[in-house]
């Protein structure tokens, strides 16, 4: 079992550009959540996907959007990048009725 996998591991983007991050959940998991972890802070919830629908959303602007595919994998899209979007983006998956979230290694996004 490969666990939760995220790609890419690192990327650098210019202010104003758009970025797409990808996540494959742990085998058997159907729920994917995305978190933003700024340097020196705890992760902040962005949104959660289940059955290809956004089920919950945190306090993030509409520039942050996502998608879940029929195979439960997910994408996080961020438009009009700002310097403040620089962070580690973490994907977590969980199963139906599960109480534990499994995290991927994260994608380190640097906006210059």
């Amino acid at each position: 079992d490969a666990g939760v996998t995220q790609s890419p591991t690192h990327l650098i983007k210019t202010r104003g550009q758009q970025v797409t991050l990808r996540c494959s959940p742990k085998s058997g998991h159907d729920t994917v959540s995305w978190y933003q972890q700024a340097l020196g802070q705890g992760p902040q919830f962005i949104f959660q996907y289940y059955e290809e629908e956004e089920r919950q959303r945190g306090n993030f602007p509409d520039r942050f959007s996502g998608h879940q595919f029929p195979n439960y994998s997910s994408e996080l899209n961020v438009n009009a990048l700002l310097l403040g979007d620089s962070a580690l983006y973490l994907c977590a998956s969980s199963g139906t009725g599960g109480t534990e979230a499994f995290f991927g290694q994260g994608t380190r996004l640097t906006v210059v």
Partner: protein, 114 residues
């Protein structure tokens, strides 16, 4: 709404000494409680969780935590730390009974010195 306060941003300790990382939470509803560890340039790994039952929970790598409802605390302890325990530790809560978001504290940096 729920919130988590980790009372120490950094905890330095010598190898083989005991350690306690403190976590207080606030919630008007029942919650589940978690401790995660993050090694440099890595994601989060679950150390232990409290869902219900015994208030003393044991996790991986010799860590344990005690849930105290009256003090709304969930402190993490280890009787003897190793250099390899140096990492960032996060306390988190989630509303019990459904699919909910994790609310994390700001983290505690544990630095184990030889």
């Amino acid at each position: 709404a729920q919130s988590v306060t980790q009372l120490d941003s950094q905890v330095p300790v010598f190898e083989e000494a005991p350690v306690e990382l403190r976590c207080n939470y606030s919630s008007s509803v029942s919650v589940y409680l978690f401790w995660y560890v993050q090694y440099p340039n890595q994601g989060l790994q679950l150390l232990l969780k409290y869902l219900s039952g015994s208030t003393l929970v044991k996790g991986i790598n010799g860590f344990e935590a005690e849930f105290n409802k009256s003090q709304t605390s969930f402190h993490l302890r280890k009787p003897s730390v190793h250099i390899s325990d140096t990492a960032e530790y996060f306390c988190a809560v989630i509303k019990s009974g459904g699919y909910n978001k994790l609310i994390f504290g700001a983290g505690t940096r544990l630095a184990v010195h030889p």
